[in-house]
Symmetry: C2
């Protein structure tokens, strides 16, 4: 019943040679109707599963997968991704899949373009892109498509049907999750939605989260809340935020749409009298520290490590085992507080 049948077994049972069986299995034609029927009869009775091990043995091609990632030394947000990729590298090392990372400067479009050119020169079979620059990515993807290179993206979504698969999170929903948590901590008052970012690369990202956040309060008709949006940019994050605090002395909660919640927490830790609910994103060390201190109340885990890992592993498994690549992989929106954070940090 659970015996593993081989092509040779089938050939024997059908009274033909393994070559003929092979032709039937792969629709290579050149098979007489009589032989076809005999073989199909056998195939209908038994449950043939080709031995993937043997199939791949013959395949000496080394598949090349390139990952385009912002340099984590410039923006440490991307560090977990490197770990995720390295996990995949380790996993697929014994197989004929070669994974390389190409870093670029997340503040320089030029750097992104030249990184793409470098990748193209490596003639990869597939690439995984963190599409920080929208327009430039669209163009790069076009070139990859012409060269028959499979493209996966992660973290940020871009609209292009040349992209095979996107790994990420439903940002709108994650904003709603944040809102539901905020509504649990507070029952009324002013809440600020704060966008902190050096560049405005994540504009769409942050907007989606804000939309989701606001939708929750609107839908539930929670009129006792007042939502205010605040944009902060690199050199003067703290000063501008302090201004905002002075102008809004009754602020009760802050939803930070990026991983920079720790910056707000740092500022607030200097003001002892303020008791403000903070919800942010990502389990980076500084955030977790403030979680432990009780200044940060919730973090939403975007699990970039797993995003990056899944981005390449689906590609590798596609090449190795001809697994299908799903169009989108949406990771769960993990709710983290001080009590369960440990289990999400690797």
């Amino acid at each position: 019943m659970d015996k593993k049948y081989t092509i040779k077994d089938i050939a024997q049972m059908a009274g033909v040679s393994k070559g003929t069986v092979d032709r039937v299995l792969h629709n290579r034609g050149k098979v007489s109707p009589a032989a076809l029927e005999k073989i199909n009869e056998v195939l209908n009775v038994i449950d043939y599963e080709p031995n993937l091990i043997a199939r791949n043995l013959k395949n000496t091609k080394i598949y090349k997968i390139c990952v385009l990632l912002p340099d984590p030394e410039i923006d440490s947000y991307w560090l977990p991704c490197v770990n995720g990729i390295q996990d995949a590298v380790k996993e697929f090392k014994p197989y004929s899949v070669n994974i390389t990372i190409q870093y670029f400067n997340p503040e320089s479009k030029k750097s992104f373009v030249s990184a793409n050119n470098a990748v193209l020169n490596l003639e990869p079979d597939a690439v995984l892109i963190a599409p920080v620059f929208h327009k430039e990515t669209i163009e790069a993807v076009k070139v990859y498509e012409e060269s028959n290179v499979i493209v996966n993206t992660f973290n940020n979504q871009i609209e292009s049907n040349a992209v095979k698969c996107f790994v990420g999170q439903d940002l709108y929903k994650s904003g709603r999750v944040a809102a539901s948590l905020m509504n649990l901590i507070l029952s009324e008052g002013q809440i600020a939605i704060v966008h902190i970012d050096e560049s405005l690369k994540n504009a769409v990202h942050m907007q989606e989260k804000e939309k989701g956040f606001r939708s929750y309060f609107e839908e539930k008709k929670l009129n006792s809340f007042l939502l205010t949006t605040l944009k902060l940019k690199h050199p003067n994050v703290e000063s501008k935020f302090l201004n905002f605090l002075e102008e809004n002395p009754d602020l009760k909660g802050i939803f930070i749409t990026t991983s920079k919640a720790y910056q707000i927490a740092t500022t607030l830790s200097g003001l002892k009298d303020k008791k403000i609910a903070l919800i942010g994103y990502d389990l980076i060390e500084k955030n977790v520290n403030y979680l432990n201190e009780g200044l940060l109340h919730f973090l939403i885990h975007q699990n970039q490590k797993r995003q990056a890992y899944l981005g390449v592993s689906t590609l590798a498994e596609h090449f190795l085992y001809s697994k299908e690549i799903p169009e989108t992989i949406l990771l769960p929106i993990d709710i983290i507080n001080v009590e369960n954070a440990d289990f999400y940090i690797y």
Copy 2:
């Protein structure tokens, strides 16, 4: 640089035959110091990774893994586990690993014992047990050890160093997580810790959760809360609970330590005037429905599906790729509310 070296390559480089290289790689002895040195020199320079595909090709042994699981038709709690196992079955079908499930009646120790005997007759290479019956499991594990069968457990932990690996959750911590959420919904009042179970099989399980729950309030010195424990057993869950409600009219919150939170929610849905915070376990359909209705506030996801999957997949990968089996795999304590539940339901 990233070329894949084969044993033949190494043999050629070292000026010996592949047989000798093989002996060195596997410490099979019978190698002259001169040859050993030459080969080691080559191995130090290049980065040899044996081709696992080729290695496993020759290995025609079909590994047998048996899963001992309570019949999900008797207790639907175990249904997700079946799905997890079936995922693993699908994944490893093309390889020489055979996974079978042996069901037993979770209310009958006799059934568990006979299931173990049936499994033993199949002469498995490894088993994964849901150790519902503590004493019986310990004894069964002893027998498996004597027959050199690897034993993994999941869901419940048992103390036996004959068990190779446990997959589960930190129950104490999960109780603390529940407490932290309760403390967010309520700021004072009486909270009931409710243990619901047909049999008292999960005694340790539930106790650990209660300990964790209580520890949170004790540690934070939250004296405005009053914690009460309530045990409910099958035939008269509702009546006893209604009694309890009458005797404790000021009850503000309930923490249900099993997956039966929906039973409490059902009863409460009949009493319109009560507004009680509910936190329970497991994303079973009935619970999720009450989550959507707003009667249940939080669920803690124990992810039995993944527990079962990991339980067998670590075994399969151990056999196929000689991966190490970790001693314990602790799954994260996922916090679920109505906003993020979708992403955890498969």
